[in-house]
Assembly symmetry: C2
Homo-oligomer: 343 residues x 2
DNA sequence: TACTCCTACTAGAGCGCGCTAGTAGTGCGC
DNA sequence: GCGCACTACTAGCGCGCTCTAGTAGGAGTA
């Protein structure tokens, strides 16, 4: 007589109670023609009364298709939750269900993906996947797969990302115009978009005649990496090398780390140092002074990802595609002109 | 010949290729006794070769139980991702699968829960649910349900939370000891734990002889609420009423909002104003100066939630229980003594 | 030899649904 | 009176798996 003991009602229960066949109940619930208005209403009323709820496992098994999109994301990647928020409505609009699976410290991406496939997701949407290209290609061969943020060169995978180059260029032009010359870039390592961002940083420095100042510090897309880089720069300063006047971080989380390290050491942002992030994740607004960053439109990216997946599901001949969205520099409180005399 | 067109291999395929019966393959995959070592190896090898992957929909349908826990969370509640990270390993340890479903702006909690139930989750773990008690009770009657963070008075629901009272008391004692008297509390509205936190705030003020200073400002558990409260306090200051010397926010996100509003207006934290949050969400570390807050141990809470669910599933006679974990004040950079002469 | 007992395996029902093929019943034209 | 089209419904197979109730065959025992 407990919650778990009670049998969950099935279509047969509804059918019996409503005095019709199982098939008819099925028709009603699928909203298919073939039932009179009156019967329809009666069936729905009865179903509601006995608390019937269609069983997606059975439904899924019966029709070949599951109409379910599997989304893999990484816990703590704030930008991912922005994306998820955009995925649900678009999937619903197109009549698809969404299943979420998180990767984290103790749970590899492969494990998260495995769970999704086990639940018969027809397509995978991977948010900033960090796995090897070979693995992603294998997934792409097996299932419709969309990668958001990370380009997978020769894999059978759709790809949605923002034009990293344009974003970085905007940020760099902005900084240079303010008078910055010693602009350091913290690399995102294997993180999505990193290679492009790094390349564009180098190109921008060259274009502005700052070849001699180019400096890329290895890092990754996490706070810790920013903190470590901050410490490194501070240690160098103590040994006589001047601080850069601006830091272009690999993403917002990394920028956050730089801010933490610098502020703790008494370096004032943006007076002594400008810090620019990348993503415009939820996080960026939340700083008291606001993080200057490059905005990627999460809603639009989510929409594209879902659409790519669905279109390829419904039209299997389609080749994987790539969507490139234009990012936009958002100037907030962590950037300003360089300290006087630092040029 | 495309990813979505290919038929996914089934047990029958494995059985045929390995020259055994379907049942035997099933035995091997369930790791049950009844197959020789040699056959076991052969079956697994063949399965791997043809890329067989058990179908959880079918598996789920066939055995009565799904061994799946449904977790509802709210997008952007950073503390929830902390919890999720703790839920996975504990569930795995106990042999349960986890399904995630997110509520957000455009997706109600009921909808998120509906999706979970449709996928045959045996138990629900609701992270900081905001739904009406009546609805939660209804869920509790139907399914094993655990609420994390929010107490649901007379509902058939397990409950995991931290001892809000103790946490608030620690924070208040700390502030008073520093010399604060004008301590304002921003209420969490319908947010989980709010009622207890409000009550403890009042009690602490009384205990310290500060009855006359008691002030609870309505709010909720979001940045915006903190920003608005900040503006309110600033407007009052401009009309002659002094700022409080300390703010005890409803949670970290709200505290963040206060910081944003105050810093933008030139109020320096913690020199002019101390701000204390609640949750010790991921967020709190990420501020340059670190948010003083009350830590709830997310890992431990997650562990308890999973355990409650599983134990009640495997022992249907069990009554719903309550776990109260001790929170701990974490002093970081947003708190300090009140400005001189403000007493 | 005949019997039990054991291990290694198989047959086949059934989980809750979708869907195809079919059956009444009714109205309509000629 | 018959065929035909149309609506409202039903029978029953099959999705891929689990699980119960078996069977085949060999070892051990009296």
């Amino acid at each position: 007589m407990d919650g778990s003991g009670r049998q969950r009602p099935t279509m047969a229960d509804v059918a019996e109670k409503a005095g019709v066949s199982r098939a008819l109940v099925s028709i009603v619930f699928r909203n298919q023609p073939g039932a009179s208005e009156e019967t329809r209403r009666r069936v729905l009323r009865v179903a509601d009364e006995i608390g019937y709820r269609p069983d997606s496992a059975a439904r899924l098994l019966a029709r070949g298709r599951s109409r379910t999109l599997g989304v893999m994301f990484t816990v703590h990647q704030t930008f991912h939750t922005d994306l998820i928020e955009g995925i649900y409505p678009e999937a619903e609009r197109l009549g698809y269900d969404v299943l979420l699976s998180a990767a984290s410290q103790g749970r590899s991406e492969a494990k998260a993906v495995e769970a999704l496939l086990g639940h018969r997701c027809e397509a995978l949407i991977l948010l900033g996947p960090d796995a090897e290209p070979a693995y992603l290609d294998e997934l792409g061969q097996r299932t419709v797969t969309v990668s958001v943020g990370r380009r997978v060169p020769r894999a059978r995978v759709d790809f949605v990302h923002s034009a990293e180059g344009k974003g970085v260029r905007q940020a760099m032009d902005y900084l240079v115009e303010l008078g910055h010359r010693r602009i350091v870039h913290i690399d995102g390592g294997r993180g999505p978009g990193s290679a492009d961002r790094r390349r564009s940083y180098r190109a921008a420095m060259r274009r502005h005649g700052l070849d001699a100042e180019v400096r890329v510090i290895p890092g990754e897309h996490a706070e810790q990496s920013g903190i470590e880089t901050g410490r490194l720069l501070l240690a160098e300063r103590d040994r006589g090398r001047p601080l850069p006047t601006a830091v272009l971080a690999g993403n917002d989380r990394c920028a956050m780390g730089v801010l933490i390290a610098m502020t703790r050491a008494g370096v004032e942002v943006p007076r002594d140092l400008s810090v620019v992030g990348y993503d415009d994740s939820h996080l960026s607004h939340l700083m008291p002074i606001g993080l200057t960053t490059v905005r990627q439109d999460a809603g639009l990216m989510a929409e594209h990802a879902v659409r790519f997946a669905v279109e390829r599901l419904e039209n299997p001949g389609l080749e994987p595609r790539e969507a490139v969205l234009d990012p936009k520099l958002v100037v907030r409180g962590t950037s300003g002109p360089p300290p006087v005399g630092a040029a």
